[in-house]
Subunit: 359 residues, 4 copies
């Protein structure tokens, strides 16, 4: 009762943050400050943080201060309670997510998760709104949804999201058959404390646990097609090499692709530059005007210079050139904690609102 | 007359350094301190440096002090003079090399060059002694050699050398057909002042001018076969993505390969670990005991931890795993200013000595 | 005639940028996009750039794109011409400034300079608007001003500005007698290409040419008092140690101070937190609401987390604690290319407008 | 019995390493490979590591491989047992040290500790062999020593050691009265995992817990004088500002000093360059030939270029210039995990051997 009055008064949809104290949880709170539709109303984190004011529980690592509204909010334990809002943005590590997220869906929440725990589950949509907004249909096959309207939607791994945003427009126009990709991933992707500085200063770590199989499988599901209530993964062969580099934010990826139909450079660049899709049509608040930006300079994209394009929600592509083995080579960059994590989940939340799943 | 007396007395072969003040020139001087065969006897650099003592001409950037013997030597202009020794190690940029190196060969010098200027010339050997020591035969086709015994031998680009050391043993045993490679290259590869810090701190630059075509063409020549006085490039398709990362020394490369014959992981690892070749058999002073080292840890090789194996002359390989598209994936690392530049040229000089070309 | 029509129509004051293609010049253009009072109307740079469209002349290194209005503007040679506006923001290196800036003042321009060339000249105001806005009175003693209204005003070195913003409020309240300061300065302070990456990756350079004497002398002039048309430097003894560290933006400084009057920690923190001055009272568009922010966390300020406070115009202070030798120790941070350079000059321009010097 | 036979046979003194798996423990093992006097014979670490072969227990982070002899040794629990040798090099964190080290001294071991736990204890020598080798006399006041010959000796914090090596020769010649010091400390000083990369990439952290009081108090004890079985701290006022910077190894320190007697630059430089002391006279194996090296270049010392002088055991000083407030300013650098930790303890062990405390 109180809650709906509250909503009526301030017109914004209350949002709960699971894993509010971590790197991605902090980004949620930063990005939701002044959000036109959503408002942070409930925070939860590990038992260590529960009961504390957020400002004390979180080791805030962002360059903007903690929003005043949120700083004093008390952190809850990571279980649904009477104050838990319908919409939950979840930034848990996958082990925690495996246990905790279903409890929220079971309690009737719309769980929009950044974790890998359920991404590949058959009835869980794995969504980039520009690429496969229709996959949210899977929600209707979830037992929670049929029971009480609760459900779960996920966004992909931060390494897959930039790649798939670059591949999506080409897959539609030309068909993508094979993909080689070597990533140079930022340290913020590993959370906090994450990568020890002794491991990465002046160094490259050519390995990120579980990253390559995730990147490969998730990309196929994202580019897949929904029919009869299931997603058929795209028939794309992917081979990923995942590396960590001493960069704070922004994953850079070297990509070679083989296409089904012949393509010219102009056509490919047009496919990227002109790409507009559901989030742009629906004018979702976090949707970038131009989701894929082609930068024609010979040495771009670069993480420090390009990761913030479209408020961190655009993928930036560059260096399109023929490949000696496949058809084309290029570089793609995306902001791993915005487009690749917190912003991805918020955009999914906005899509769900626009599609009517939150009412 | 004086020169040969000098040689008789101190038993070492005098060496001249062209481009002595640059990053690679400094490495030459560092690596030749206490060399059992060679001794720095003559230095040359740009006109700006000529006439100065080396200690004043060079902006020395290495972590060991300038060898006392060399610090006081006067830098010559970059032209052969009466004191120029037979053996010249050259570290010029390619534009300078194009003009200056032939003048030394024409004056009867053995020019062992690190520059790209003549690497792809038909009669110039491009040599990694472990891979294609026999290619030095090309020397005999050089006009200078026939005239007065002068000649030119080159080592490959720093990005090609690690790759080819990893490919070489596999090419012999299984045949390499196709190669995808994405590099993460250290800043020292660009010389000094080279890459501005504003460009690379916390950043990746997905472009190095001319690097990709060099890497592709040189690798084919290195793996090629000599017959009838010419080198036939290997029939290997290569597609390179070259990136600069904030690492001081050591190029890391993500590689996928397709082989002609079926291979098991054990066989590949054996091929690397057991690989010994001409420089090891000849016990060349700079030859590493084990030119290719396989590190079985899941997150190696890493530039800071592995670049100095074999005194910076070994390539370190790791992460061998099946490829979803080709046959195998792995990571290779090599020290770009030692094995990839100064050490490469010195090892070539040692090979030439052992093969009798310096007498 | 045309120019004044132009002004009437668009209501904004046209601004010329001297040294428009460099690091600080780029910041000018970035910060002036959407400025409420000023509008970039004229660009000048070295002869190498003159005649080119700005987008081709500048090697743009900022994370936001070149403003569309400016990208196509033609760069002028660095001399006054018929289109030169009254207000000139100058970001020249000091050698160039020494020759070029007087020519503009002589042509009647209001030259707001970031260079060190004339900062210590007797009749040139060196101004931080929060600290010594009244020093602009010196303008009236300049020969150019008396001749045709042209004049010159400067802002301090990027290392002095953060220090003096922290010292200013304390000097007023307690008197500052002695100051030890050790800086850890960002690479952007050296411009572009500036510091080679080989010099600074994983390294500290304990030297910045001419920086220490500048920092010491400028601080005394800034804290000095104007009387009878001259500035008497403050009687403060300063000893500076200037170091370069691998940080992109933001100068961090460790400071120990001796005060004339006894102070308590609370009083000092209040002096900082409550400090508001001319720019705040005049509501200058670039004035931060709170020019000096005290961060009570034990490990702050930090450049990556705090440099953007107040849109990069606030100095952030922390770690106030007693000193074993003087009275107090603290750390101060400021954004070196915003508050320490481009933003400083723009704020000076705004002050001059508010004081009536631009009409 | 077996143990003494073993010693007789191989002539080297067996050494036990406490905390063998950590950053400093690894340096002990690296530095003791091929040590002429000592040989690693026994390893201990936390219960998590006990029972495992060293190669599995340690996350080895050094650029040279684990010495083959040590790789297969089994790690013991951190308590004396029948195999524990007399000489123990300890690299425990201070909480662990407080409990564990006394147990070893009590069991008759010579505990040479790198921890801060007992450095300031009245009867525990805090020693830099070049500075205060005579302080080992304190050993004789220890209860363990009187009981069974066991004792404890410590080396200082990594930030104090470089400073005191620079101050020592000046204190002897001129008397040091006051010292301002601002440090820029490497991340390896915080151990592993230590500083998160998200905290330090492109950043400065102006705080290291407990570091400043340690640095101040330890420096006074080191420069103090022994009489009547106690150490009287030197009457030197110190004020330290400790900062962490993105450097792997090597602490750089900006220093201002006030001297009792007037000094000229030449005298100070001579005092440093000519400084030779007990370890040099005794020809201790790890003693650098020149413990303090003055580098006259205007921009030195720098951590990447100078930390390895004297095999990492020399302090390098530079930038000597007058101070505006005290007498002189300079910069000092030392390798924090060699001279500042593992090498310091080994040199202390060598001193104890030479002084007869190990027999």
């Amino acid at each position: 009762m109180l809650k709906s009055n509250f909503q009526a008064m301030n017109k914004k949809i209350p949002v709960g943050i699971l894993g509010a104290t971590g790197t991605v949880g902090q980004r949620f709170i930063q990005l939701l400050e002044n959000h036109p539709w959503f408002e942070v109303a409930w925070l939860a984190a590990s038992d260590r943080s529960a009961g504390k004011p957020y400002r004390d529980a979180a080791s805030w690592r962002l360059a903007t201060p903690i929003p005043a509204r949120v700083a004093g909010m008390t952190v809850n334990t990571a279980a649904p309670n009477g104050d838990t809002p319908k919409l939950i943005l979840a930034a848990l590590d996958s082990n925690a997510a495996r246990e905790i997220e279903p409890a929220f869906a079971d309690a009737g929440c719309a769980v929009v998760s950044n974790s890998s725990a359920f991404r590949m589950a058959e009835d869980v949509p794995l969504v980039i709104p520009e690429i496969n907004a229709d996959h949210t249909e899977l929600i209707k096959t979830q037992k929670w949804y049929r029971k009480n309207g609760g459900f779960m939607v996920t966004n992909p791994n931060c390494s897959a999201i930039g790649l798939v945003m670059a591949l999506g427009p080409l897959h539609r126009r030309y068909g993508v058959e094979k993909v080689f990709v070597a990533t140079m991933q930022a340290v913020s992707g590993a959370g906090y404390p994450g990568v020890p500085s002794l491991d990465i200063l002046g160094n490259v770590i050519p390995y990120i646990a579980s990253e390559e199989p995730k990147m490969e499988a998730e990309s196929r599901k994202l580019l897949g097609t929904l029919s009869n209530g299931t997603v058929k993964p795209a028939d794309v062969a992917l081979s990923a090499h995942c590396n960590r580099v001493p960069v704070e934010d922004g994953h850079t990826e070297s990509v070679s692709i083989k296409l089904s139909k012949q393509a010219q450079a102009e056509g490919i660049i047009d496919a990227w530059q002109d790409f507009r899709c559901t989030p742009q049509k629906l004018k979702l608040p976090s949707a970038p005007e131009q989701p894929v930006i082609y930068n024609p300079a010979p040495d771009r994209p670069q993480p420090r210079l390009d990761r913030d394009r479209g408020n961190g929600m655009s993928a930036v592509v560059g260096r399109l050139r023929p490949c000696n083995i496949f058809d084309w080579r290029f570089t793609v960059l995306s902001h791993n904690t915005i487009r690749g994590a917190a912003g991805a989940a918020i955009l999914n939340g906005e899509l769900l609102k626009a599609q009517g799943y939150l009412s």
